[in-house]
Point group: C2
Chain length 166, copies 2
DNA sequence: CAATATCCTACTAAATTAGTCAGGAATTAT
DNA sequence: ATAATTCCTGACTAATTTAGTAGGATATTG
């Protein structure tokens, strides 16, 4: 009973996007460096996230990825499903043909577990999780350690523009 | 997010023991044939189940395995833990050293998920599951199809002895 | 054009899972 | 006693999945 790194990486990366959402697109190179995930591997994951319409890619310099919806509307179950296949612990993919074309004795158990698992994860939005006490502080601390100055600069620019506009 | 066959096999096999609990020990050869699991593989699983004190082996002819405790006192989480390692979706085995010796941003999420997962599974006893409507009937049907006459005979003998004793 | 990014496909290495094989040890029936 | 039955153990292997590489194409900005 475990979660592959694919799912964990996916959620972690999405949280990164959510945290830096106001500072424009985040590059995979950035995430790769900070979270210690290989760039190419991240590209594969984001390809899936993009196909699931959870993120949007922006090409070219200054580009990167951003959430395609507000963090309030993205839940953990979606992310894991997109990246790590289904959240499902049955053998038969819920089809009930687990043993000789019939439902095996434990089929109902796995079905129920799968459902509960999914709804637990579906009940947690990115926003909810990012807004937990301490998370933002922890993230900023991390960014400093990792020398994520680009993001800091961008974030400052965005604030300036907002001031101009008002 | 998935369950390996180890865990599934383990639970399925334990259910088999629970269902045939009144008919004396169940041989692995029997389970192997009926559930379509290789005998040697079952032996490995049962070695773990035995070490976790969930089953007892009875050697010699007429031997097999039986539950070491009443089915009411055995829950699904124990079985999976015994056979398939921990029920845990964190990267760091709950130690909180997931990223550079610090807790990663998603650590709390995985911790909470692991806990909920475990307590869900721990809340289901073998007995509860075996006593679900339809399960016993399904099992008897299966036994007939699989020609599990040995067990049927034994079950009859047990009943006779009980009658004599009373 | 040059630099920066995403995007895409195919390949490879490592780890895990699932299983096999070969034998030994305990128990019971004959 | 001995043969049959069954658990028990460890080492080995094949298949699958996971994780990661490599290399290049495409789009965008300055």
């Amino acid at each position: 009973m475990r979660l592959s790194t694919k799912g964990r990486y996916g959620v972690t990366a999405m949280m990164d996007l959510a945290i830096h959402d106001n500072a424009g697109p985040v590059t995979l190179a950035d995430i790769s460096q900070c979270q210690g995930i290989s760039l190419s591997y991240l590209e594969q994951l984001f390809s899936k996230l993009r196909k699931a319409k959870l993120v949007e890619g922006v090409r070219g310099p200054g580009g990167g990825y951003r959430l395609s919806r507000p963090a309030e509307d993205i839940n953990i179950a979606e992310i894991i499903s997109a990246v790590d296949e289904k959240v499902d612990v049955t053998k038969c993919n819920q089809e009930g043909n687990c043993q000789d074309g019939m439902r095996c004795l434990t089929h109902d158990l796995w079905m129920e577990l799968s459902e509960r698992l999914y709804s637990f994860l579906a009940g947690i939005t990115l926003a909810q999780f990012v807004n937990r006490p301490g998370i933002h502080e922890l993230a900023i601390q991390r960014d400093k350690i990792n020398g994520r100055f680009i993001l800091a600069r961008r974030q400052a620019e965005v604030l300036q523009q907002q001031r101009k506009a008002s």
